[in-house]
């Protein structure tokens, strides 16, 4: 079939004669449904957020975007960025340690499989059930652990702990951040070749030299990428936080408050300004993440 031959030429880069433009135009048509769908259900909502964030009663201005990043809203962004960074750091360190443990503990053979399978489930386990589970563990009144600690003479709520505060959110978000980090770093840790360690030892290096000169530099893109992803994951989370607290310092909860409330047009724009800033933060994080991931994959494909 001539049809087949032409596609073969089109696919390869060595094509001598350019394919006829009529055929190429026709191939494009196959993607129209997909792009039309995305345009309707992703691009239009996203663009209208920016459009509404810039529109005030008297024309377009950058004022709402500025206002969405000042005063109480700025406090919210600072709080959200701080606890998300904290949750990401905890997740990166703990997740890497757990991934390393899973990779090195070869004795019970089933252990590694169990850990990776569980992480696959837990990384997707957010939202309501998780929030309720932590209320039964660490809630102010309903928490079993809270009561046990109380009985032991330690009132964590006296010491400023709350499931909606930085510490509480970090603990709860670790439940899905740590498994996610394990899934990200495990391939990277598997990518550390035994022969590198041997080469390092043969050259007279100690374990410390190995980690400082070989292990950590190879893992760094994965760790950085993991940090960015966990940060974005914590920053964008809504359902879990909505159950745990009504802390209006969390940006996603604040957005929901603006979306639900009866606010005038001017304040409306500020609410959408918050969303616009959130999208900007997420876009920066995820772009950097893709760069880091590409670098990380370089070592894994060896």
């Amino acid at each position: 079939m001539t049809d087949v031959i032409i596609t073969e030429v089109e696919g390869g880069r060595t094509a001598g004669a350019p394919p006829s433009s009529a055929r190429r135009n026709w191939a494009w048509v196959g993607l129209v449904p997909f792009f039309a769908f995305l345009f309707l259900f992703l691009i239009i909502p996203a663009l209208s957020v920016f459009f509404n964030a810039l529109r005030t009663e008297d024309g377009f201005s950058l004022a709402p975007l500025g206002e969405a990043f000042s005063g109480q809203n700025f406090q919210a962004f600072r709080f959200s960025i701080m606890f998300s960074a904290g949750a990401a750091i905890v997740g990166v360190i703990w997740g890497t340690l757990l991934a390393y443990a899973a990779a090195s503990l070869i004795r019970p053979k089933w252990l590694r499989n169990l850990i990776t399978s569980f992480c696959g489930v837990a990384a997707n386990m957010g939202g309501l059930p998780l929030a309720f589970a932590f209320i039964t563990l660490l809630g102010a009144r309903a928490g079993v652990l809270t009561n046990i600690l109380n009985w032991l003479g330690l009132d964590i709520y006296e010491h400023g702990f709350d499931l909606g505060n930085t510490a509480g959110l970090i603990v709860v978000y670790s439940y899905f951040n740590v498994p996610l980090m394990v899934l990200i770093t495990l391939p990277a840790i598997d990518g550390l070749k035994q022969s590198w360690r041997e080469a390092c030892a043969n050259l007279g290096g100690t374990t410390w030299t190995y980690w400082r000169r070989v292990g950590l530099p190879v893992l760094t893109p994965s760790l950085l990428g993991g940090f960015l992803l966990l940060f974005a994951n914590s920053f964008a989370a809504y359902a879990t936080a909505a159950i745990l607290t009504d802390n209006s310092k969390i940006v996603s909860l604040r957005i929901a408050f603006f979306l639900g409330g009866d606010v005038s047009i001017g304040e409306d724009a500020v609410g959408f300004g918050l969303v616009a800033w959130m999208i900007i933060v997420m876009a920066v994080c995820m772009s950097l993440y893709w760069v880091a991931r590409r670098r990380a994959e370089r070592w894994q494909s060896l």
Binding site: L31, L105, A242, S252
Partner: protein, 318 residues
């Protein structure tokens, strides 16, 4: 065999040996006199993690099955008032069945729309527009940058212009397709990379099959693993999605879960426990289904070839 236990051995589970030089003969102990104790650190990490990940589930189960307030727990009460009855109490609520039915219908609709949209698009891209592949991959990760709470803000803005559509409960389906897109597309794309698509299509076409038959009888059976994993994850996303549904006041299962837990705490906790168990079961089933297929087809899958990120887009479920 006395292997260095703290070393990240690239052991391949199938071959059962290191992919590099015979490790047992390697100068393993050089610079590591404490190899004997090296197991302690990983074991400690795993133990602490196990406690952290199990405790919330256990206390959730206790709250569901034992009707004793946490502050009254003690020697005398620990074994009293246990009952399985709260697990099923939610089913009797008149609002439960409609919400479950809606969530299940949304899940089925989202899975079908996802597959109908993505399988032809991915196949077409691989066959006719291979240069567009990177661009399309970039497009499919856009939902990572627009989390559910931001997407729903956009929907709220658009709503006055499309009330006829957005007032329907099923208007959620296309947005759920978008939310699950990064994973679903990657899964199908990986499935297509693993098969010799062009040869299969050419063979099928030269035997006289049309595009429909080729898709149905050749491509879909070959992409079964990819399609199964895309479908399961999509279903999990839809059944657990709370942000968009609650903001648009749709009465899906998660919305009911929240309202019911506030009304009837114990039975509500039990319902959440049940939701967790069902989701976990879904993932276990998925890993069993996909593993069987992979093993029968390919003798060895290198670990690095697995998708680095088998998870839902950020902020979707959380």
């Amino acid at each position: 065999m006395d292997l260095p236990l703290d070393a990240p051995l690239p052991i391949d589970p199938e071959l059962g040996a290191s992919t590099t030089a015979p490790t047992a003969l390697a100068p393993q102990s050089v610079g590591r006199p404490n190899a004997k104790y090296a197991r302690i650190v990983p074991i400690t990490v795993v133990t602490i993690s196990a406690f952290f990940f199990l405790l919330p589930l256990l206390t959730l189960a206790r709250h569901s099955l034992q009707n004793v307030p946490a502050f009254l727990l003690g020697k005398d009460t620990i074994f009293t008032k246990w009952s399985l009855e709260p697990m099923w109490r939610a089913f009797d609520d008149p609002k439960f069945m409609p919400s479950l039915k809606l969530s299940l219908m949304l899940a089925v609709g989202t899975v079908f729309l996802t597959l109908a949209l993505l399988v032809p698009t991915a196949v077409w891209t691989h066959l006719r527009l291979p240069k567009m592949r990177t661009f399309i991959e970039f497009i499919t990760v856009l939902p990572y940058m627009i989390p559910a709470i931001a997407l729903v803000a956009g929907i709220v803005i658009v709503k006055p212009h499309a009330r006829w559509f957005l007032n329907s409960d099923f208007a959620l389906i296309p947005f759920y397709v978008v939310l699950a897109l990064p994973f679903t597309y990657r899964s199908i794309d990986a499935g297509l990379r693993a098969i010799d698509l062009r040869t299969l299509v050419d063979a099928s076409r030269s035997l006289g099959a049309g595009w429909g038959t080729t898709l149905r009888k050749v491509l879909i059976p070959n992409l079964r693993t990819a399609i199964i994993s895309a479908s399961f994850l999509t279903a999990a996303v839809v059944i657990g999605e709370y942000t968009i549904a609650s903001t648009l006041l749709k009465k899906t299962l998660p919305a009911f879960q929240r309202e019911y837990t506030q009304r009837e705490p114990q039975a509500g906790y039990a319902l959440n426990l049940l939701a967790l168990l069902v989701t976990t079961l879904l993932f276990v089933l998925l890993s069993v289904l996909t593993k069987k297929r992979d093993q029968s087809r390919k003798p060895y899958v290198p670990p690095a070839a697995e998708p680095t990120l088998p998870h839902t887009p950020t902020g979707t479920l959380t």
